[in-house]
């Protein structure tokens, strides 16, 4: 983006004591709208607009809907409202041009945002996405305690981000290492400059060590099948039997598409009538038969098995890898949690590898 990115060579690193994070965050909240992880309900988490650092729980489980997707491409987005006015129409867009700090997102979700950038901003620019994206300031929190469904390591998207963030915080002993990724990030640091001290190469090495340790010791998903799955999907040598079984398990709930932070399909409809109403876009899913059915009634993906197959082809095949520059999977593990049929990236990878 146009935030004045700082190259890796010149990446500045700072330290902030854990005890000072709240006060720094309160300073940010005074100047910006901030969305951060908060506890909701009995034991759920969501990124919500916060009024003070006290609302934030940094010990959170990554929410079932990715915060970047939730903000940049929400489940339901009013694109415009219309009202008949004599012989013409009053049309108003619902774009909000306001800076927003997303504080505490995970590296998998940052990777998903970079993926969505390609879809929404390269070639045809989606204005609704663009306006929010240019106003978005990202503060990534490296992941030291991945959930048991996580496999970002194998998608090369975590547990810590390499690029694309404005700031990245990594918890060291009693303090955070702060990597400044852009001028916007630096602005945030300036809001609490008295809390920050310069970090050394030794601190950076300590961060790398901790992240390596997390990578090797804390992930429970079988992650080593991923690259093989890419090969099998690309060369299309997975037996029909595998897809048949997966197709029988799929209940076409659409959860996989909804929770996947790199799934960007939507449908547009109008609410209201011919005098007044709004145009809305809402998430759609390629797991639905109606998603591809043509007006004639013909459906190029007529049965569920073909829809499941297509989804994994889209996520993993080399064709999309070259087109988008990365896989359509960031290893966030949300499909592992959400799929009613127990079909998820790790299970498919395993099935593809065993070809049974």
């Amino acid at each position: 983006m146009d935030g004045g990115e700082i190259g890796e060579a010149s990446m500045k690193i700072k330290l902030i004591k854990e005890a000072n994070v709240s006060e720094w965050l309160n300073g940010i909240i005074k100047k910006y709208k901030v969305m951060a992880p908060t506890k909701i309900g009995k034991n759920d988490f969501a990124f919500k607009a916060v009024k003070s650092a006290g609302d934030v729980s940094l010990e959170f489980l990554n929410p079932i809907i990715s915060p970047v997707k939730d903000y940049l491409f929400p489940e339901k987005e009013v694109m415009l409202t219309y009202r008949k006015n004599g012989n013409s129409w009053d049309v108003e867009s619902n774009l909000v041009d306001q800076e927003m700090v997303l504080f505490g997102l995970r590296s998998c979700d940052l990777a998903a945002m970079l993926f969505m950038d390609k879809f929404f901003l390269e070639g045809f620019k989606d204005t609704y996405y663009e306006v929010k994206r240019k106003n978005l300031i990202t503060v990534v929190m490296s992941c030291r305690e991945p959930m048991e469904t996580c496999f970002c390591v194998c998608a090369d998207c975590g547990p810590s981000s390499k690029e694309g963030f404005d700031l990245q915080l990594t918890e060291l002993d009693g303090q955070y290492l702060v990597e400044i990724g852009s001028a916007k990030g630096e602005e945030l640091v300036k809001l609490g400059s008295s809390f920050f001290s310069d970090a050394s190469e030794r601190n950076l090495a300590e961060k790398e060590r901790i992240m390596e340790e997390t990578k090797y010791n804390k992930f429970k998903m079988p992650t080593t099948y991923f690259s093989k799955a890419v090969r099998h999907v690309t060369t299309d040598d997975i037996s029909e039997n595998v897809w048949n079984k997966l197709g029988s398990r799929c209940m076409s709930c659409g959860s996989c598409s909804y929770v996947c932070p790199t799934c960007t399909c939507f449908t547009v409809y109008d609410e209201g009538d011919l005098t007044e109403g709004k145009r809305v876009r809402t998430w759609d899913s390629c797991m639905y038969g109606g998603f591809t059915r043509e007006v004639s009634g013909h459906n190029p993906r007529a049965v569920q098995k073909e829809r499941v197959q297509r989804r994994y082809y889209h996520k993993l095949s080399y064709y999309y890898l070259t087109k988008m520059g990365c896989h359509g999977c960031v290893g966030c593990g949300r499909c592992v949690i959400s799929c009613l049929g127990g079909i998820d990236m790790s299970m498919v990878s395993k099935a593809a590898r065993r070809n049974e």
Binding site: A46, I64, S248, G254, E271, D284, S338
Partner: protein, 551 residues
Amino acid sequence: MKEVFTTCSFCGCGCEICVTGAGEEITRVIPSFSNRVSRGSLCMKGWRTGEIYCNSNRIARPLIKVNGTLKESSWEAALDFIAKRFSALTDKDRGVGVIGSAKITNEESFLLNKFARQVIKTNNIDSAFTLNYAPIFEKISELHFSLTMDDLEKSDLVIVIGSNIGVEAPQIARRVLRAVDKGAKLIIVNALRVPFCDIADLFVQTKPDGFKDIKEVKSFFNQARNPIVIVGEDIFKGPNANDDFAAVVETFKDKVFPIFNVNNILGALANGVSPYIDASILEQKFKITSPKTKGLNLFEMRDAAATGSLKCLYVVGENILESMGDLNRTRAALERLEFLIVQDLFLTETAQLAHVVLPACGALEKKGHFINMEGKIQQVNPILSPYGESKPDGQIILDLAKKMDCPLPYANVESISNEISDLYLLSDYQDMKIDLPVETISSDYPLWLKVDSPRVFFHSGSLLKNSAILLREMEPSVVLMNSDYAKEKQLKGNDKVKLVSKSGTLVRNVLISEEIPKNILVLRTNLSDNSHTALLPVGLKWTVVKLEKLQ
């Protein structure tokens, strides 16, 4: 914008959903991650909750029929009209019926029960429990509604009898797959193939009315350590429902897990919305005084309406015209009523026949509790303000009772929750057999017909058809048949045929499918057209037909 956690209002699984919205607008519906049922997942219906309830097709104001047309009115006028018509009726114990809903809260079912017996003074009160699960009454003392989804996940043998569980109860299907992935055996017993047959260890294909003959399955059952037997719609709405379900319970005893594809079906039963609860128990537990006359169930109410002995029907949240079956006779019965009151969210086909329509709030607009198919009590919390001038069903009942000079002593839902907590009636029903039609093929009607629900369905479809995405999932209604049978009858795909059952006829195009046995036809249906219910006997989804080729 605020977030509210509440219970999903579709099938009987009872997922917890987190709804974000304000006023009359929902912006987001997501599954709760920490809730033991939803665990971060919803089915297609659950995800579309917002679209279904925040919908401009909702009824915004009461409607009164004037010269054959429903016209908007004030609440005052509508309730006055109802109270006057009620007071003019004699023989209310016989002449008035009340049909409750499996979608309203426990508190509202309790109020409806009290309203029927004490205000109207009739025992003619029933709900979709009888409509969909009548066979359960014969064995109700042996079922405890206490097998849980966790039990299911821990089992080493899952037997699924008469259900396409992925469609009927997705969270149950999810647990079955979990159990299978952990090594459990899966046996499917069904007259037709279902998707899970592909991953099952054994598929026992029975005759549509032959679920009793399952010896092979019994031996697996006896060897299993921790078996569980899921029973679904093809038994409860099958051609020999009572005998089949009784046989299943006799064989598998307390391992039988009946699944409910409607959310608060147990809540209606547990709160006495049924003619089969003893008056002394109602008196003792709920302090409800019942009249002496024996109550009719909803099938009997329909028949009484047809003969003219039932004159007035108060229908709360149930599109009986389309959910009961035998469409033509049901319509004639409803049209013969002197007074029909329908309380609902949408102007259903039943509501269109009504003399008065009362606009009710949906599940996102009220507070109370549901009971899921495991017998667990779950909270329902409001997030939206009532649509238009609609009111929660419970409030309408209270207002109506007051208007009829017989006020019920409750200020709000909380006071009712306190009164009924732990006093549910589920264990108070006695075993008894409900008359259901029994279908058999004969030379007159040589073919079985299964009316198959769409890939996504909920009860009569009156809620789901308000979602554009769900409607988009619907495929044209056709009749599926085996190619051998088609050849014999010189039929090919797209030919037009007429299906004739004992109760009605239906014209559909043919679609050939090799998965279907030779003497069975499957009618694929969709949400936008319920004309197929003309073919069905009341309470069933299976029937027998003959087929005529049309030119």
